[in-house]
């Protein structure tokens, strides 16, 4: 019997599994037109949460390299739809779970894809790590700083591979920049812009904060639809009477689950900046907010959030309707500026950039990382760092004051209420996982 790749990855058997993988030609006759891939070379994946991003064609996919074998949702309609789609798209009956713990402990699953609302991310990632699974987690990584710390600890302790799913530090065109971040990274690293640098993430530089992603006040309780297990949807979040606006397509507008446009777009926008500025191993030391008072439940809007690093680098977020007027640079240093669309004050910039060394190559094939047990280039540590920038902003907004942060201890300085937001209470039995 061929031992499967997943037990090779997970169990011990000191190298035994390697020799039992049958050579490909043994299966050669089986394939027809389709290229046959030995199951032992295949990875498998299960998705928790198939309501939104989990059903995107990007993720709801199955191929020779990685088969989708299981899905989980607390909304029966979502689950039925996913199983149906699995039959139609991949000719496969997906294992369908209501309780995500069953998916995490399913021995057929190698990789747990976490596509739930973010109040679940930390707990599910920690439990997946404890169960010996590798993790593909949607952004934002966690909704509190404390949960991020626990994910980092668990992934390291059990030697798992973790990937956070935001990709702008790699290949995709980075919104207003009009290019990938690579040329900007080269320019910044060369010192041609000088130091320290200020980055402005704003409508004025080509980024939108999606302010309509806010919550509603005074929601009146509604009956829970029969297809939804609302208690399980809430999980660790405090109980609040059901209202359809709290869940599914609009949950981001509530502090209990995420932090509006800041939470949703923040990590997409800020993670690449941490990379560009070389801040992947540290945090800002100060966050300052200019915002109307926030409701304790429904996320509101803000005018600006300014992060300052110890060396004077800054990230300024400008809310919709409060953008700087006129032409403002996306990134600005004492010696040069780069504007939206990569307009810049550096003469012949592309000649300059082309002659500079490329940034260090990065490991960006997650499945290869899983097979070779290498860190993915945006792993739990880097993800926790950029998620923390977002979550610091949320803490400052909720308290409506400037906060100071100690990167070494990952605690706020001289503000106990802010520190109480680092770890937030959870409902039983979920408190235990974190």
């Amino acid at each position: 019997m061929a031992e499967s790749r997943r037990s090779f990855l997970k169990k011990a058997g000191v190298g035994i599994a390697a020799v039992t993988i049958l050579p490909r030609h043994v299966f050669g006759a089986m394939g027809g037109n389709k290229k046959y891939v030995a199951p032992s070379d295949q990875l498998t994946r299960g998705i928790i949460g198939v309501g939104g991003i989990g059903m995107s064609p990007l993720h709801f996919a199955s191929d020779d390299k990685c088969r989708l074998v299981a899905v989980c949702d607390v909304d029966q309609n979502h689950l039925d739809r996913a199983v149906e789609a699995g039959k139609k798209s991949f000719d496969t009956t997906l294992a369908a779970y209501h309780d995500w713990r069953d998916l995490v402990h399913d021995p057929n699953v190698d990789i747990v894809h976490i596509a739930t609302p973010s109040h679940w991310h930390g707990i599910q990632a920690v439990e997946a790590a404890r169960a010996g699974k590798d993790i593909f987690c949607e952004k934002p990584m966690t909704r509190t700083i404390g949960e991020g710390q626990k994910v980092v600890e668990a992934v390291a302790r059990y030697g798992r591979i973790f990937r956070l799913d935001t990709w702008f530090r790699f290949k995709d065109t980075f919104y207003g920049l009009g290019t990938t971040v690579e040329p900007l990274k080269k320019l910044v690293d060369s010192g041609l812009l000088g130091w320290p640098l200020t980055v402005r993430i704003s409508g004025a530089t080509g980024f939108a904060w999606k302010f309509f992603w806010t919550g509603k006040e005074d929601l009146q309780p509604q009956p829970v639809p029969k297809e939804l297990d609302y208690d399980m949807w809430l999980g660790p979040a405090p109980f609040k009477p059901y209202h359809p606006h709290r869940v599914h397509q609009t949950f981001r507008g509530y502090w209990d689950y995420e932090s509006g446009g800041l939470g949703d777009m923040g990590q997409h926008y800020i993670d690449p900046v941490q990379y560009i500025l070389g801040k992947d191993d540290t945090f800002p030391v100060q966050v300052e907010v200019d915002a109307p008072q926030q409701h304790p439940d429904a996320v509101g809007t803000w005018r600006s959030i300014t992060y300052t690093y110890e060396d004077g680098c800054k990230i300024i977020l400008e809310g919709e309707g409060y953008e700087s007027k006129g032409k403002v640079p996306y990134i600005e240093g004492p010696k040069g500026k780069v504007y939206q669309g990569f307009e810049t004050t550096i003469p012949n910039v592309w000649d300059v950039i082309n002659a500079l060394p490329d940034p260090a190559p990065r490991q960006t094939d997650f499945l290869e990382c899983v097979k070779n047990r290498q860190h993915f280039a945006l792993d739990e540590i880097i993800g926790h760092h950029s998620a923390t920038v977002v979550n610091m902003g949320a803490c400052a907004l909720r308290l409506n004051r400037t906060l100071h942060f100690d990167p070494a201890t990952q605690r706020f300085v001289g503000d106990e209420a802010a520190n109480l937001l680092i770890n937030q209470p959870m409902r039983a039995p979920w408190a235990s996982m974190i």
Binding site: G132, A156, G159, K216, F239, Q249, T250, P357, D415, A428
Partner: protein, 906 residues
């Protein structure tokens, strides 16, 4: 109920009276009222001021807020703002002196709260400012189904709560998972017996928490149960056991068949073993275990002993390990930036992952020897990773590259070196690359673009002229690269110069197209009449000057040009009207739904009412993508436009869009639905005009009641229905005239008008045929003019509002301010015209009498002495005709248009 309530208030008032007033002489009741109406605070300073007021009069203010929530039913948001706000305020440095009193108010509120969700909210608030005095409150709610999590967390966060937590553990009534979590976070070792007692009989969902906690606080006593129940937590427990025992157990766990548990055991071994033994374990693992464990061991040993101590072990034993383990060592060197040429460079020769990794690590650690070795690799089967490493190499390797290029080991190395020289813009390599290119080397031709400079342009041009077809694109790139430091006009001139002597000039067209200057556009356009190659090149340009060319091609059925046209038009700096009309045509031209969807989507960037209506038409498109593009477009326009959109159209289109978003149901579509609902809530239905009872009795007919223009025709672009009015916009590309469907002779015509902009100019055409100037070819035009505008300072009397244009001046009135409505009545009987504005007669004349019957000059001359303006008015005695609005620009609104047809008798 009411009675109890007022009693309650009076008791409270008594209490507050006893408490006193604030600096502004307000009792707490007043402060609460003042703050509530100001919620939420718009900014930090207002926030601080309001919250300071609340806090300074706590606990009474806080108690009042809590009490009144219960009486205020469903609208509690402002109370939530006030309460969470005052808590946030006193939790900070500036409000900390009021903290105890606010907490006291919250405790009172918690004690009296009826609604469990609201009580939980108060407990959450109290947690943020809690002190020793609050312990009892939290303890009281540790068993509460909703609030237990918050209550127990609060106890964990407070110092000195160990005894209370132990009490709760021993009672065992609060949720067990919650208590276990508290035990773990608080490190309550004395809870171990209780947890161990719970463990075997606990509910399945509580077990993970209990195991987790025992892993953190447990002793030897928990080891055996944990080992079977939760090996993952057992591995954690080991770290807390006394040194010898930990070491022994962890070494035992290293024999587990689960790699993740061996990973967890490694740090325990390393932490408890002497350095020598720990490093020995590392070496054993490197020799025998699988990759995750090897890496965990490397990490643990590095953390415990440092790279200085670990490196010698690795290099010493390295040779005896498997290639996989060697790979891990190399990765470790790369991660920690440790240069170790004697390990890395030989490994670069290895096959498989080891060799590939060595090449990668050589790039990471750098140094002259690694650099040279990487350059040598460019001629081997590791050229790909070597190239990646060299492209990101921090040190300058141009000397090594040029030296190797002078004497390459094989063709592959030469080609790769040329590629690298090109990527790094090593212009010194140009002569070699050009030489190879002239010999026909495809790699050299591709590399030219990175090394050539201005002085090479002629050589490249010659190569381009004589190249095989396959090489042409790379040589075009090279020519562009050679010229790119010059100004675009000079580049165009140079290429024009080069192409005149070329046997096949079409090879230069794509180059001209890429230069992109206006002169390039002109040149290619001139050629394109006869040469399809020039036309193709022209249509690829990025210069918006080619918009007409793209449109012409699109009209001939070229979909690719149509798509480019849509994008370029949308990104251009043209007027919104121009863009909208262009996109409207594009929607009609598009054969593929994908392109139609792009055009509809781009309409969404034009914040105009007309773009809204146009996009709305695609909400029912047969293609789903087009429908979604339309939904997005109408939503974006409605949220951005400053123009008024007719309520019925707004409602119809947004409701359709909302349904489309709801049906699609993507991750964030719910927010689109929200946004639309909000816009619909804020919009108001259009008012509708009705005839008065008297008008009805007399037989008046409504010509425009605010809903539609079904009784009108003409310039429907310029005259649109907006919220119960006819709104006149700039009549771009249209006639500017709106006509009644029917023709009239004698009538009473009534309407209301309003100027939205200064200087509005329009008129009412009487008895006019279509598409002529009513002032001359109709009976007349009665002026509608904002004659008060400064721009009309030099107006002639027969041009003021209400005048029979060119024939009879009206009495000059003073118009109402912009945006206010006036009434107008026009009575036409036979040759007699009366005009009333706001009830005042301003014109009253018989045109036949005034002109003594001479609508035109008696002698047929151009100058007519019988009219004031000296012009002929041939239509003056028309028997009948349409009534029209004669537009001359934007800014007029008209409503409530009605007519009494008096027939043809006079």
């Amino acid at each position: 109920m009411k009675k109890i309530f007022s009693l309650l208030i009076s008791v409270l008032l008594l209490a507050t009276a006893a408490y006193g007033q604030d600096a502004r002489g307000r009792v707490p009741e007043t402060i609460v009222n003042d703050v509530l109406v100001a919620m939420p605070a718009p900014d930090a300073s207002r926030f601080a001021a309001d919250m300071k007021d609340l806090a300074a009069s706590a606990p009474t203010t806080v108690e009042l807020l809590c009490k009144r929530v219960a009486n205020d039913g469903t609208k509690i948001a402002r109370y939530q703002y006030a309460l969470s706000g005052v808590v946030a305020y006193v939790s900070g440095a500036s409000g900390s002196n009021h903290r105890a009193r606010v907490a006291e108010g919250l405790r009172q509120g918690i004690a009296t709260a009826k609604d469990p969700t609201f009580r939980h909210f108060l407990l959450q608030q109290l947690r943020l400012i809690a002190s020793q005095e609050d312990i009892a409150t939290f303890q009281a709610y540790a068993e509460d189904p909703e609030a237990a999590g918050t209550a127990i967390s609060a106890l964990v966060d407070l110092p000195g709560t160990e005894a209370v937590l132990m009490e709760l553990v021993n009672e065992g009534k609060a949720p067990k998972a919650q208590l276990a979590a508290a035990v773990a976070r608080k490190g309550l070792k004395e809870a171990e017996p209780a947890l161990l007692a719970w463990g075997p009989v606990a509910a399945a969902e509580d077990k993970p928490a209990i195991c987790h906690a025992l892993g953190r606080i447990g002793s030897e006593a928990s080891a055996s149960w944990l080992m079977t129940e939760s090996p993952a937590d057992y591995a954690v427990l080991l770290g807390n056991l006394p040194g010898d025992r930990a070491l022994k157990a962890a070494q035992g766990l290293l024999k587990s068949d689960r790699a993740d548990l061996r990973c967890a055991a490694v740090p325990v071994v390393v932490a408890n073993a002497p350095a020598k033994a720990g490093l020995k374990t590392l070496a054993d693992i490197m020799k025998n275990d699988v990759r995750p464990v090897r890496n965990a061991a490397l990490q643990a040993a590095t953390d415990a002993y440092g790279t200085q101590a670990v490196a010698p072990v690795l290099t010493k034993k390295y040779a005896s390990w498997s290639d996989d383990a060697k790979t891990d060592v190399l990765n470790w060197l790369g991660t920690h930036g440790i240069r170790c040429d004697q390990v890395v460079i030989p490994a670069m020769a290895a096959d498989g992952e080891l060799g590939q990794t060595a090449v990668k690590v050589a790039g990471q650690v750098g140094g002259p020897l690694c650099g040279k070795a990487l350059v040598a690799c460019l001629g081997t089967n590791k050229a790909v990773p070597a190239m990646a490493a060299l492209k990101s190499y921090r040190e300058d390797l141009s000397q090594e590259v040029l030296a190797a290029l002078a004497a390459p080991k094989n063709d592959a190395q030469r080609e790769n070196l040329m590629y690298l020289a090109s990527a790094k813009h090593m212009t010194a390599a140009a002569p070699t690359v050009i030489e190879q290119a002239s010999k026909g080397s495809a790699a050299a031709i591709r590399a030219l673009r990175g090394v050539v400079t201005e002085s090479d342009a002629d050589v490249v041009s010659t190569l381009l002229v004589h190249a095989e077809d396959a090489q042409v694109p790379a040589l075009q790139e090279a020519l562009l690269a050679a010229l790119h430091t010059q100004r675009p006009d000079d580049q165009t001139a140079k290429v024009k110069n080069l192409l005149t002597s070329a046997p096949d000039r079409s090879r230069f067209y794509p180059v001209l197209a890429r230069i992109g200057s206006d002169e390039s556009v002109n040149t290619l356009r001139a050629f394109s009449a006869k040469e399809p190659a020039a036309k193709s090149a022209l249509l690829t340009m990025k210069n918006p000057a080619i918009l007409p060319d793209l449109l012409a091609a699109a009209r001939e059925g070229d979909e690719r040009s149509l798509e480019r046209y849509i994008w370029m038009l949308s990104d251009s700096h043209n007027e919104p009207d121009f863009k909208r009309l262009g996109l409207a045509e594009a929607i009609k031209l598009a054969k593929s739904p994908a392109i139609r969807a792009v055009a509809v989507d781009k309409l969404g960037n034009i914040p105009q009412m007309k773009a809204f209506l146009l996009a709305g038409k695609s909400l029912d498109d047969r293609n789903a993508d087009v429908r979604m593009a339309a939904a997005s477009a109408v939503k974006r326009i409605a949220s951005k436009t400053t123009e008024e959109i007719n309520y019925d159209d707004l409602k119809a289109n947004l409701e359709k869009a909302s349904k489309l978003f709801r049906t699609r149901g993507w991750a964030d579509d719910g927010y689109a639905v929200d946004e639309i609902n909000k816009m619909l809530l804020e919009a108001k239905p259009s008012p509708r005009s009705v005839l008065t009872e008297e008008e009805k009795a007399q037989g008046f007919e409504m010509l425009f009641d605010g809903t539609d223009l079904s009784k009108w025709h003409g310039d429907m672009e310029g005259y649109t229905v907006v919220n119960g009015t006819i709104s006149v916009s700039a009549n771009y590309g249209a006639t500017g005239n709106l006509y009644t469907n029917k023709e009239y002779r004698n009538f009473i015509y009534r309407f209301e008008f309003c100027f939205m902009e200064e200087g509005v100019n329009n008129g009412v055409g009487i008895r006019t045929p279509e598409n002529v100037d009513a002032a001359y070819h109709g009976m007349c035009e009665l002026q509608i003019l904002d004659h008060d505008a400064p721009m009309y300072a030099d107006l002639r009397p027969y041009q003021v509002h209400g005048s029979i244009y060119g024939i009879v001046p009206a009495k000059r009135i003073k118009h109402k301010p912009l945006g206010e409505w006036s009434t107008e009545e026009i009575i036409v009987e036979g040759d007699h015209i009366t005009v009333k504005v706001n009830g005042e007669v301003i014109t009253d004349a018989d045109v036949r009498k005034v002109t003594e019957g001479h609508n035109v000059a008696p002698d047929g001359a151009k100058v007519n002495p019988y009219t004031i303006d000296g012009h002929n008015h041939p239509g003056m005695f028309n028997y009948k005709g349409h009534i029209s609005f004669c537009g001359h620009g934007a800014g007029l609104k008209i409503r409530n248009v009605r007519i009494l047809d008096l027939g043809y008798k006079k």
